[in-house]
Symmetry: C2
């Protein structure tokens, strides 16, 4: 799967079951009508029942330079969950799930369906609200490394 280049997102939730989030490349657009996306979440994760109970999630697509945020929410920095939300600016949109102010894009969703598949749960999200910063370069993970994906492709004549 390392050969699939994929955008890096931090997927969050908040509600009566608590607030948490995780770094994820397994996000996928499903349908435009109604706008639906899906997220894959490990069944053994302590966050799994939190997402299901809250019934909402927000996909925050990261931009170039947000590798540290990605590492923190991937649990690679030893920072506990509460502290992961302290360093950056977060607010909420419609559902109450944390939305990253400086994301390339945020897709705020209510969970419309849940499908258990082997080791993972697939959360289908009906998109309630969208926020986009179309000027930002995107952060992509490919071949086990981070890459910055420019909004406009780099052409050879620009490299001089």
């Amino acid at each position: 799967m390392a050969q699939f280049g994929a955008a890096v997102s931090v997927v969050t939730t908040e509600g009566t079951a608590g607030r948490c989030g995780f770094t994820c490349t397994a996000v996928c657009s499903v349908t435009d009508d109604p706008p639906t996306i899906l997220v894959c979440l490990n069944r053994s994760s302590l966050m799994n029942p939190v997402f299901k109970s809250n019934g909402v999630f927000c996909v925050n697509v990261l931009g170039a330079g947000q590798e540290d945020l990605s590492a923190a929410f991937a649990g690679q920095t030893g920072v506990n969950m509460a502290e992961r939300f302290v360093r950056d600016r977060w607010d909420t949109m419609v559902t109450g799930a944390p939305a990253l102010r400086d994301a390339v894009g945020s897709l705020d969703c209510t969970i419309s369906d849940i499908n258990e598949c082997g080791t993972h749960t697939i959360l289908f999200g009906s998109v309630a609200s969208v926020r986009v910063d179309a000027s930002r370069d995107s952060l992509v993970y490919f071949n086990r490394q981070y890459h910055a994906l420019p909004v406009a492709p780099v052409r050879s004549e620009q490299v001089s």
Copy 2:
């Protein structure tokens, strides 16, 4: 969804219902155990029943420079289905679905589950065989344009 950078793949099938394929960015890893991926396919597509009847598919991850192949299988070139398979080298792996010889990677799958979701069908594929060319740059679609994603990230000291 344009703000999600995503690898570009051509997803193919072959069997008693016929041979066809389509260009797709809605491919997602689901679980490692058992290895499972998913593909989203429009329910109104004539290919939808062909994939379901054949029960197999192969995800061929495209490399930099394969924009023409992507356009052909996206139906943007006026080339009919049979002719789309003529220009490049294809073979088969385990399931019989067409595998692109010059792909960055090919994931040959048997359909393990089908989930209808709004306008789209989600095909879950149990990975039967994998072929990877780890030396190839990947083709990524982001912000409505193609990008080449290098195997090794470009560092500033290399730009001189």
